[in-house]
């Protein structure tokens, strides 16, 4: 298996775009003295840098997991080259032994024998030995998959939900927020009506209703997707979009308020007096001065979205059941604590990884807010 076909899923493309945007934003803010001072404040915060390092590891794993390809199938006849319908990622290739070395069913972390007794050929009922004893750091799940492999694969889903949701809603939130605050009048009324209406629908219910509808669309159009990975990917992106629709209102309101304030400041008045067009004022004078709010909102929303993914997938309105995520892991392991003797490692692994990720995100977000929002500093 030497040859492969590179696959670029939509979510991969958006994820790469996001990383590029973060890098570009970093380069841009290096050239702004007042932003550089803020970043220095973040850099001097030991907790912030520690959590940033943890987040960087998570993002690196997600990045490797976003390089998708389809391996070539072994050539049966000397005809055209065929590729597997299974979409793998670079992470799968790196973790090849973990992915393929499966057991029959549950085994405890680092165990040498299966978890339940079975009838063996020679010696009555006993714990059968594992095929790969001592290699499963977090044990194996019901169908014998390595739990550590599943948790590492879950990271990409969690990060995509946490970041792409904000990325997708950003244009709408920024555009409408600035417009409502700057233009005012009936435009303001319409935009306010729009977000009050969306806001008044309970979030979970709007998500549930939209996901149900999206499921019908995806199920009635199987011809849109070549592989099951593409279908799962479409569902993931749709979920991000739906979560975005329910969460852009908060940022939009913040931006509207800030724009209302900035509009009356002298430098904007001066620009207007000099005959600068409205579009240019918004782009050059107002947008750069509200970007810190966007940044803060983005990192503050992240941890909530990661937690929300788990809950939504658990309820059955989250990602595709075939997508590996913390929510689907918890969902399949939900009854395992009730077993006798209980199976705790799947749940423990999912919760520990999620806790570390969300804790790091929360701590980093706090440091960022303290550095960039002068009012929040205490």
């Amino acid at each position: 298996m030497t040859s492969f076909k590179f696959v670029l899923l939509w979510s991969d493309a958006l994820f790469f775009l996001l990383i590029a945007a973060v890098i570009a934003g970093g380069v841009w803010s290096r050239r702004q003295p007042h932003l550089r001072a803020n970043w220095r404040k973040v850099g001097q915060n030991r907790v912030a840098m520690g959590s940033a390092a943890v987040l960087a590891v998570f993002f690196a794993i997600a990045f490797i997991d976003s390089l998708h390809y389809r391996p070539q199938l072994p050539n049966v006849d000397q005809g055209e080259v065929r590729y597997s319908t299974e979409v793998l990622s670079a992470l799968d290739a790196l973790l090849m032994p973990m992915r393929t070395q499966t057991e029959k069913t549950y085994s405890a972390p680092l165990a040498t024998h299966l978890f339940a007794k079975e009838t063996l050929d020679d010696a009555g009922r006993d714990y059968p030995p594992l095929r790969y004893p001592g290699t499963h750091v977090f044990g194996t799940d019901k169908v014998g998959q390595d739990v550590l492999y599943l948790t590492l694969k879950s990271i990409r889903t969690a990060l995509l939900i946490g970041t792409l949701t904000t990325l997708i809603m950003l244009p709408a939130a920024i555009g409408l927020g600035l417009l409502a605050g700057y233009v005012g009048g009936w435009v303001d009324d319409v935009i306010q009506y729009l977000y009050t209406t969306l806001n008044s629908i309970p979030g979970v219910l709007l998500i549930a209703a939209s996901v149900l509808m999206m499921q019908v669309v995806i199920d009635t159009h199987p011809e849109w997707f070549a592989t099951s990975a593409e279908r799962a990917d479409a569902r993931l992106l749709a979920l991000c979009a739906i979560l975005g629709i329910t969460s852009w209102t908060g940022l939009c309101r913040l931006l509207r308020g800030e724009t209302l304030k900035l509009r009356e400041l002298e430098y904007v008045q001066a620009a207007r007096a000099l005959g600068v067009s409205s579009a240019r004022i918004l782009w050059r004078h107002i947008l750069p001065n509200v970007m810190h709010i966007v940044l803060i909102a983005m990192v503050m929303d992240f941890s909530g979205l990661v937690l929300a993914e788990a809950v939504l997938s658990y309820v059955g309105i989250g990602v595709d059941p075939n997508t590996i995520s913390f929510g689907t892991m918890i969902n399949t392991a939900r009854m395992e604590l009730a077993r006798e003797p209980m199976v705790w490692w799947s749940l423990a692994a999912a919760f520990i990884f999620m806790f570390v990720l969300v804790l790091a995100a929360n701590l980093f977000a706090d440091a960022l807010r303290d550095a960039f929002d002068p009012r929040a500093s205490r």
């Binding site: 629908i201 549930a208 209703a209 669309v217 937690l307 658990y314 918890i330 806790f355 804790l359």
Partner: protein
């Protein structure tokens, strides 16, 4: 005051209509009733007759907005939009897929939802405020720091963990309360106590930290300095001045959720088998019962709008400087 209330209620009407139109678009225009029928009956090998029968049983066989075959008012009234959306304003929600009346089901399930949600709300508010007060009393000490760290750590734990872990520890290992279920009357207490404690615990991290910030902000005000300059004790300043003023934003901020307490909590009710509106919604989602989900969306938005109105009123009640106009 009365004039203001009436005007606010009139403002609420277009929002409710907007919600209605959005849900209608979501449920009937994105997917036609034909799609839904095919989905429910299985995608492959469905005869057109079966689809027609499914639609007729649920009243989806009418035109969407305008019925050309009917006469007079029937042109508007005998449509899906009138049947399924306009009638909601009269609290007529139609029937669920299993044939039961949704409005009746909702009134029956409101009790259990409230039995959990009201104690969670009251107890949660009380513990979070007390905890924040404790941290503020010991502000800028290691106790305060440890408390904030605890809050952030508790915020970072998934809500599912509190539920699964709590059920496992309290019900399975300690055998203190039943794992799930519900009973009428006072015997409901043993079923309710664990979900209430878990919900309070799951929510305390973020709210206590937020309240702490509000308290600290209040400490920077001039009147606090004046009170100290008068020679009042630190404890007196905290409880008589800071607490009372900080409670204004805290309590008025909490008012908005009071009406939505009726909706219950999806997760808690599903895990603990409480027959409230939350588990009703979850069952409807899993069974893809669109009529029920639509009804719950409508009720939820109406309650939210009531909550906004109550918030405005409570502002005027606690702060005489704010006038409604």
């Amino acid at each position: 005051m009365l004039a203001y209330l009436i005007r606010r209620l009139l403002y609420a009407l277009p929002i409710l209509i907007g919600v209605n139109v959005i849900t209608f678009a979501l449920f009937f225009i994105v997917n036609t009733p034909d799609d839904m029928a095919r989905m429910q009956l299985g995608v492959k090998r469905v005869t057109p007759e079966a689809i027609e029968k499914w639609k007729a049983e649920r009243g989806y066989d009418k035109p969407l907005f305008w019925n050309t075959q009917a006469s007079g008012a029937g042109q508007v009234a005998e449509t899906i939009f009138f049947d399924k959306s306009v009638k909601m304003f009269a609290l007529d929600f139609g029937r669920a897929d299993d044939g039961r009346d949704i409005a009746r089901e909702i009134t029956q399930r409101m009790g259990p939802s409230l039995a959990v949600a009201v104690p969670v709300f009251a107890l949660g508010l009380f513990t979070a405020i007390s905890f924040a007060l404790l941290l503020v009393y010991f502000r800028a000490t290691y106790l305060d720091f440890a408390g904030v760290v605890l809050c952030v750590a508790m915020m970072s734990v998934s809500g599912l963990f509190y539920i699964i872990g709590g059920q496992w520890l309290v019900s399975k290992i300690w055998h203190l309360v039943p794992i799930s279920g519900y009973a009428e009357g006072l015997s409901a207490a043993k079923f309710i106590i664990l979900p209430v404690i878990i919900s309070v615990l799951a929510g305390i991290g973020s709210s206590a930290r937020w309240y702490r910030t509000i308290f600290l902000e209040e400490y920077t005000r001039d009147y606090v300095r004046t009170a100290r300059a008068k020679g009042l004790s630190e404890r007196f300043v905290l409880f008589r001045h800071v607490l009372r003023n900080a409670l204004i934003p805290i309590l008025t901020g909490a008012v908005v959720v009071i009406p939505t307490l009726f909706m219950g909590s999806l997760l808690i009710e599903a895990f603990f088998g409480i027959p409230g509106l939350g588990s009703y919604t979850i069952d409807a989602i899993n069974a893809q019962d669109f009529a029920v989900v639509r009804a719950m969306v409508f009720i939820g938005s109406a309650l939210y709008i009531v909550g906004l109105l109550l918030t405005d009123i409570s502002y005027t009640l606690v702060d005489p400087r704010i006038r409604l106009s």
